[in-house]
């Protein structure tokens, strides 16, 4: 990750102040610091690379317009997640009418063994892709509320407190949604979660935090 993508909270607050004053460079730093997380969130909600890219652009554009409204009580990333969710849900809504499908799911890893990550067995890599394809399909069957909550908390690693702030609901609601989503995914996946596949899961790459 490049150096300009890493900022601490103090620097972020300073950049926000400058960006509110119209400093485009400061806002550009904020974009570079947060765009990866926003993109990852959008791609899991939308499952389409081009749309996720559009969503990221739209998210930061909307954030820039509404920067004066950000009061700093929540994390800036939480605020961005919220905008990203709104933008992504709007895209989903429009896409549902178009009824298009994309078979090339950008959420799925390439079926190539990666020795740098400890994977040396191509068969296992292929199995992992197959499993994640099933998991992605199962996630797509969840309702928007369950799906967005699951993506934020279980995939993106957002805390339940921040997820509650992002989605505008109590933490208890977040916990309930996570439990419900887990139960439904387990119901769909069923026997897929065998011991062998769990090994695949354990060997799969960890998302850098």
């Amino acid at each position: 990750m490049p150096a300009d993508a890493q900022i601490d909270r103090g620097e972020e607050a300073e950049l926000l102040t400058r960006a509110r004053g119209g400093d485009a460079v400061a806002f550009g730093r904020l974009v570079r610091a947060h765009q990866r997380r926003v993109y990852a969130c959008a791609i899991h909600v939308l499952a389409d690379a081009a749309e996720a890219e559009d969503a990221v652009q739209e998210t930061f554009l909307r954030a820039h317009r509404a920067l004066a409204k950000f009061d700093g009580r929540a994390e800036f990333s939480t605020w961005l997640y919220r905008i990203c969710m709104n933008v992504s849900l709007n895209i989903l809504r429009k896409r549902r009418r178009a009824a298009t499908t994309d078979i090339a799911d950008p959420r799925l890893p390439e079926p190539v063994a990666d020795p740098s990550q400890g994977d040396t067995d191509p068969r296992r890599a292929t199995e992992a892709v197959r499993l994640y394809a099933k998991l992605a399909a199962a996630i797509d069957t969840l309702s928007p509320s369950l799906r967005t909550t699951l993506i934020l908390v279980c995939i993106e690693g957002v805390s339940q407190k921040d997820a509650a702030e992002t989605l505008g609901c109590p933490e208890g609601t977040i916990a309930w949604r996570i439990h419900e989503a887990r139960a439904r995914l387990l119901g769909v996946l069923g026997e897929e979660l065998s011991a062998e596949i769990a090994e695949v899961a354990a060997a799969s790459r960890r998302r850098p935090t």
Binding site: R65, N90, A202
Partner: protein
């Protein structure tokens, strides 16, 4: 502890630091040993969590993010701050899971939580009712007499509006939590409007803009409104099918009215013509939903209500009296006028043929493009507009000169729908401009839409053929080249088309422009390409552009 409660505890443990293996969950682990099913569920849930947290989403390269940031910088710099919906509020969900989550959260707070939820619903209900009717309604039992009436009784009660105000308000509150901020306020009004609307299409059009509402809001509301109250099957059908039959006045009519008991067996298809007003006993006087202005005093509301009750009672008595003698009649005049366009066509056509024979123009058999004479081009159009005009004016055979069928309103719109088909079918290929006989005129015109789409009759190709792909790519070549900003070379693009639409779903730029702003521009340009529909769900091609 029940299995469900145990699994919920497992979920809570998994959400916490350390997961299920944390020391503080020793008791839970011991409980799991006694419940093998829950223990297996816990193991699977832990595996699932590991899968989700370790999701190996393909990382995009630094070039991609650099280009993306540059593009954002450009857009921010060029942004004029155009007014748009505020997307910084929390997203609003109106799916069943969101409602269940809210209920579960309230239930987690105990009885007081559920009471608070219920009180909130009631408050919202009253708010909405006072907005609608101008007067705070007295506490009302949820069910009218029809809920407990015997089967023969229910058949005589006809709902007068597609969505009953009380039920719609309460249900709308369920789907729109009051504490959801400004977004919920927007959605709430949309929900109320949608619940009152007779068509879900119009409701969905109202929410077309980019607003942070849930994708299921519009779809859920009509379903809730229609399923809010258990009703006789006939009444449900009537509410869906015959909103135009009932006059607007009965929507305000609310008074206990004796229910007519019909000793005869129910006649399901004949109930439409019994246009009795809605008799919902305890509700305060409500004005029609179309009148949105709040009333100035409750007294005025009661006066309006009393007048409406009197009017409704008169209408009801009139229908009651006439209903007995007309019970076996085919349909009332109102029903004919609003629900059956075919007789109107039948009434119009013969007189048109007799009064204006010159309009039956000979078909342009020789040339597909008729010469611009005075009579010939008008003939096909007059066949439809004449009937539509007859329906609008109520005068059989009335010929109107306006040629825009979209201006027709109300019941005439339905007639126009059929007559437009007549016009379309007669206007193209030299067919007679109108049926030769009244009987033929009264026959319902076949819908031309399926036949007009040649693709629906022909089997689709499995994949788009090479020529179609070349044509599609050729159509966007100039736009792609324009994105290169003076740079040259070969750009290979991997394009995925959707079979159902022929549209591009994915365009991935490979090669020198991958991950650059130019590449993003190219991908955007390529998404405009279209191929004819095909049978496979998708088809991917790699196409090289020489720039």
């Amino acid at each position: 502890m029940s299995a469900d409660a145990l699994r919920r505890k497992v979920s809570e443990a998994l959400d916490g630091a350390g997961g299920l293996d944390a020391p503080e969950h020793a008791t839970l682990r011991a409980e799991l040993t006694a419940d093998e099913d829950s223990a297996e569920w816990a193991r699977d849930a832990a595996k699932l969590d590991a899968l989700l947290r370790g999701w190996p989403t393909p990382e995009r390269g630094e070039d991609f993010f650099a280009a993306l940031a540059a593009r954002i910088d450009e857009r921010v710099a060029a942004d004029k701050g155009a007014a748009g919906p505020d997307l910084t509020s929390p997203p609003f969900f109106d799916d069943a899971d969101a409602r269940a989550a809210k209920l579960a959260t309230q239930a987690g707070k105990g009885v007081e939580g559920l009471r608070a939820l219920d009180a909130k619903r009631a408050a919202f209900s009253l708010d909405q009712l006072s907005e609608l009717g101008g007067a705070a309604p007295p506490p009302a039992p949820a069910k009218g007499p029809s809920a407990v009436a015997p089967k023969g009784v229910a058949k005589t009660e006809t709902p007068v509006a597609p969505a009953a105000p009380v039920v719609s308000s309460r249900r709308a509150d369920e789907s729109v939590p009051k504490d959801s901020g400004p977004i919920a306020q927007v959605s709430k009004s949309e929900t109320m409007r949608a619940a009152a609307a007779t068509s879900s299409v119009s409701a969905s059009e109202e929410t077309e803009e980019d607003v942070p509402v849930d994708v299921d809001t519009v779809a859920a509301v009509p379903a809730l409104a229609s399923s809010a109250e258990p009703a006789h099957p006939n009444t449900t059908r009537q509410a869906a099918e015959a909103p135009a039959i009932t006059p607007p006045a009965p929507r305000a009519a609310v008074a206990p009215t004796p229910i007519r008991i019909d000793p005869r067996p129910p006649a399901p298809l004949r109930d439409d013509r019994v246009s009795l007003p809605s008799f919902r006993p305890p509700i305060a006087p409500l004005r029609p939903l179309a009148q949105d202005a709040p009333s100035t005093s409750s007294r005025r509301g009661w006066v309006v209500g009393a007048v409406a009750v009197l009017a409704a009672a008169l209408v009801g008595v009139a229908v009651f009296v006439s209903g007995g003698s007309e019970q076996d009649a085919p349909a009332s005049a109102t029903a004919v006028a609003t629900t059956a366009p075919a007789p109107a066509v039948a009434a119009a056509s013969p007189s048109e043929v007799a009064a204006a024979p010159s309009q039956v123009a000979p078909p342009p058999a020789a040339s597909p493009v008729a010469p611009p004479t005075a009579a010939a081009p008008v003939a096909p159009e007059s066949a439809s507009t004449g009937v539509a005009g007859a329906a609008r004016t109520g005068a059989p055979g009335g010929i109107v000169s306006e040629a825009r069928p979209s201006q027709a309103r109300g019941a005439a719109r339905r007639v126009r729908g059929d007559t437009d088909d007549l016009g379309e079918s007669s206007g193209g290929g030299g067919a007679p401009s109108r049926p030769a006989s009244p009987a033929a005129a009264s026959a319902p015109a076949p819908r031309a839409a399926p036949a007009a789409d040649p693709e629906s009759d022909e089997p689709l190709p499995e994949t788009p053929d090479r020529a179609a792909v070349l044509s599609a790519m050729g159509s966007v070549r100039a736009a792609v080249a324009a994105c290169a900003a003076g740079r040259g070379g070969v750009v290979t693009v991997r394009v995925t088309f959707a079979g159902s639409t022929g549209r591009v779903t994915t365009a991935v730029i490979e090669g020198a422009f991958a991950g650059t702003a130019e590449g993003s521009c190219m991908a955007r340009a390529i998404r405009a390409a279209r191929v004819p529909r095909f049978a496979q769900p998708t088809a991917s091609v790699s196409f090289p552009f020489q720039i």
